[in-house]
Symmetry: C2
Subunit: 210 residues, 2 copies
């Protein structure tokens, strides 16, 4: 499956590299849900490092969290397909990870007295939450809303690049630009999804299967 | 329908008072969706006043936003039951209203240099978003998750009381306490819902209708 801005080859490469790790964890009796929960805790720690203006340690820890997030799906497959609760937990904790990273950036913006980073992080948090909520709500009403130019992998990739560039080259404006870009693109995705749902529900009304 | 901490008699009284207003708006050709959108804009303005440390104007404007939020449902009924897109838009914009109020409080906490208010507001934002997300996600998977001691009306009532007490009696700690209480109760509600979904999906797996 293509993930928008995230190149397929990177996603596929990561998956192939992690396959033996997943099999190893499975042999040790470690469940996909356990990896999901540990991954979120790692991401929260990385977000706290970002909030404390430590971009390089933050980057390393956040990358570990992102790897755990890919690994849980692999582990679920190795363990026989995963459970419905596993899928539910994974989706819910993805939202927690996104929120933690945005909260870390908002705290950084507040402590540096940078209103642009503060509002970009908060706006991005709200918009990306709504992007996920709109999809779940649409599906609960029997339609879909997977459209949008800004899937989660793309958001995370942009933010990690911004944090990395800040950490390595000490170009702070780029981390602000990354959060602002993600906020803006999330808002556009949100409007795309709402318009899509409006059309879908409207068509269904016309067909009389309301 | 009971709304937890929100007394039924208040909700019922508000509904009866607004009924003629809803009929009037309907006669002027104003749609429920238009009232929903205006209500959110009013709530965003009230949240900005809270962020600017103006509690009394904030309270008045936020109360107007809350009234509009009750009015749109009434107007939908008067207009012949409301559309599925109207229900979708109302749910989605409720999340925007909640987020705006929390963002206003977080901005206030940041500008006053009060980490307790800042983190209570951000934590409450994330937890209450997740409470709504978990329900929509559970419903998209064919189950439900309406359990929880902290419905939206109760959250809003506690926050408005906190803002009101701050504004009238100048007791700032109470607005902080209100946001902290809402954050804590939302986290408890979140765990209640996740546990409920875990049981539901687990039972369904056992019954073999996975």
């Amino acid at each position: 499956m293509s993930h928008g801005l995230m190149p397929n080859v990177v996603a596929e490469g990561t998956r192939l590299t992690l396959a033996p790790v997943a099999r190893g964890l499975h042999r040790f009796g470690i469940s996909a849900n356990a990896v999901t929960v540990v991954g979120v805790l790692v991401t929260v720690a990385g977000s706290a490092l970002l909030g404390a203006a430590r971009p390089l340690p933050a980057l390393v820890v956040l990358l570990a969290g992102a790897l755990a997030d890919t690994l849980d799906g692999q582990l679920a497959k190795v363990s026989g397909g995963g459970t419905r609760f596993g899928a539910f937990l994974d989706s819910t904790l993805d939202r927690v990870s996104d929120a933690a990273l945005a909260a870390g950036a908002a705290a950084l913006g507040a402590s540096l007295g940078d209103p642009v980073l503060f509002w970009a992080a908060l706006g991005g948090l709200v918009a990306s939450f709504l992007v996920s909520y709109v999809r779940a709500k649409a599906e609960s009403m029997g339609t879909t809303a997977t459209v949008g130019l800004m899937p989660r992998e793309a958001r995370l990739t942009i933010l990690l690049i911004g944090i990395g560039v800040w950490g390595v080259f000490e170009v702070y404006p780029l981390v602000v630009a990354a959060f602002a870009a993600v906020a803006l693109l999330s808002v556009i995705t949100l409007f795309q999804r709402i318009a899509f749902v409006a059309r879908e529900l409207n068509n269904r009304n016309k067909e009389g299967i309301r």
